[in-house]
């Protein structure tokens, strides 16, 4: 094992000690065996704050090996500060190669997005999860929600979605939109926009979810059914954008709204920076390519 000498102590490869990694890997295996079920695990304090990706970091630290190539995104972007910080952490404590290219990564740790590029077999997507319990905002007690999952009692969730429709005419959940895994567990996809939900279904990649503060790990194995909850007469719909990406012209991707000035000027650009860059490199151009925020 590679040891990192510091003044006070030595840290193991990928920071966590091997016993802790084994404990986490056991939880991951259990999670894979029961798709969508939240496995409690003895989450550790990490050198970054709870709520800043400690669950994802612990999962990544437990599965990463020296031959892996890691990509870290936050809000779809590789260059957001927390993504930079987590990537730098693993480059330091695990000495692994890092990349911004979705296709080149063996492990992708993400917060709030699923890459636009389709993931393939052998890739692992690690989600950072703040509140793993999809029923938490309907029932704050863990003792109750665990019972509801055990009894497959998801009536409360359906009532919530129904009330949304009664009140607003449509389901008013735009992110962390609940999904059902293999017809059994209702699961929180983490606060990704519901736009990304369809990408989870039958994905070729393994999807792992780590919630450090709440001490839960769950998983969606490859080729697993992931169905967004809906009603026959109010089917699940993803949000669509009226215009393509202003930089690369991509349609059917998730866009960030960028405020350009104080006179209401706006532009919409790909939230997935890698996807956008690759498209531009391939010669695709949007209406504002080379403009205000071009690099």
């Amino acid at each position: 094992m590679t040891m990192q000498p510091t003044d006070l102590a030595t840290y193991n490869f990928a920071y966590l000690d091997e016993q802790t990694k084994r404990m986490i890997r056991r939880a991951i295996l259990k999670a894979i065996a029961i798709p969508g079920y939240q496995v409690p695990f003895a989450s550790r304090e990490m050198p970054m704050p709870y709520g800043w990706g400690t669950g994802g970091v612990q999962v990544t630290a437990s599965i990463i090996g020296p031959d892996d190539t890691l990509k870290v995104i936050d809000q779809g972007a590789d260059d957001t500060t927390n993504a930079v910080s987590i990537r730098a952490f693993f480059a330091k404590v695990a000495e692994v190669s890092t990349t911004t290219s979705t296709a080149d990564a063996t492990i992708i740790q993400t917060r709030h997005r699923i890459p636009e590029e389709k993931l393939g077999e052998g890739q692992i997507l690690v989600y950072q999860v703040p509140i793993p319990e999809p029923l938490r905002f309907l029932e704050p007690r863990e003792t109750e929600t665990r019972k509801m999952h055990a009894l497959e009692d998801y009536g409360l969730m359906h009532v919530k979605l129904y009330e949304d429709i009664a009140r607003n005419g449509h389901i008013a959940t735009t992110y962390a939109y609940p999904v059902k895994i293999e017809g059994r567990y209702v699961m929180d996809p983490s606060p990704t926009p519901k736009f990304d939900n369809p990408k989870m279904d039958q994905s070729e990649a393994l999807q792992l979810f780590g919630a450090g503060r709440e001490k839960r790990i769950y998983a969606v194995p490859p080729y697993t059914s992931v169905v967004s909850l809906d009603f026959e007469d109010y089917p699940f719909e993803v949000n669509r954008f009226d215009q393509p990406c202003a930089l690369c012209g991509a349609e059917g991707v998730y866009l960030d709204e960028v405020v350009l000035d104080d006179r209401g000027g706006r532009m919409f650009v790909c939230s997935d920076t890698d996807h956008c860059e690759k498209r531009r490199a391939a010669g695709h151009k949007g209406t504002m390519a080379g403009g205000e925020i071009g690099q």
């Binding site: 409690p40 704050p49 709870y50 500060t81 911004t100 709030h112 007690r141 607003n168 001490k215 709204e257």
Partner: protein
Amino acid sequence: MYVAVKGGEKAIRNAHRLLADRRRGDRSVPALTLAQIAGQLALAVDRVMSEGALYDRDLAALAIKQARGDMIEAIFLVRAYRTTLPRFGYSEPVDTGAMHIERRISATYKDLPGGQMLGPTFDYTHRLLDPELAGDAEVPGAGRGEGEPARAMRVSDILAEDGMIEGDGDAATETPGDITREPMEFPMERDTRLQSLSRGDEGFLLALAYSTQRGYARSHPFAGEIRIGEVEVAVDMPELGFAVTVGRVQLTECQMINQFKGSSKAPPQFTRGYGLVFGQSERKAMAMALCDRAMRARELGEDIVAPAQDEEFVVSHCDNVQASGFVEHLKLPHYVDFQAELELVRTTRAEHESRRDPGPAVAEAAE
């Protein structure tokens, strides 16, 4: 090896350099030494040790210095280091009855074997700012008073002799739970609950303890005993067949005595609330004892009517490292979620407008 580098990396580096600069402050003023912090800000060090759950004065002092005096940040630093340490085993239960006492008071007896011993307390100081402390005035030394015993029986043992107070109780399982190695489960046993409280946030527990005194789950408490001092920590050595003392730690222990009317199973007798923390942390130990007693409501068949009695509420929210992390994560970008919400609000606003101001065609159709 290819490493992705982007703008954020430089910004982070610069921010950390600025932090280091501000931490050092005016270069013409000598830097704080860890010995100064450990020796002169000892109660801050004690709090970091107890809530950081690591008994090491030097590391706690270092953490306070590194955190620029931000206590929760210092506690976090200690926790993040502690979690990487290997677990050799568990000590024998410490015997607080054999504590080498520096302070020991009881509010329930005027005098008792071992006597009352005020020790180094703020109690009965008048809170007048002392200008002399601004300088480096000579401070006369102080030792232990003449004839004061270093050891004294616990007040709860006096009450236990005639069955006036419930027993200490046995642990639920042979090996105590370990909240740092097992995920929490509710309902909790008292051992893991006490562990959580012992490293819980002093301010949070203080407020909850206060709420019980103001009528939210009143438990008629008396400070049976508060004692501060050093105890020996012994570890069982399987090779030797007996326990060996490996060191001493300073602890603050609080035994609250509470009224209990009795139930179908138990006769009327006093019940206990228990507080135990590293170092000299009296306020924390007392708050912990009040919260512990309040959360025994389920066990004692009392109605659960107030926040302090709600184990899941208290234990899930008392850890300040978790709490500050999650509250402060709101600083991280959320623009993907926010975009989704923006679209939703725009849609619903458009719908609202069209309902409020129906076009003529719709108005005719309605007539």
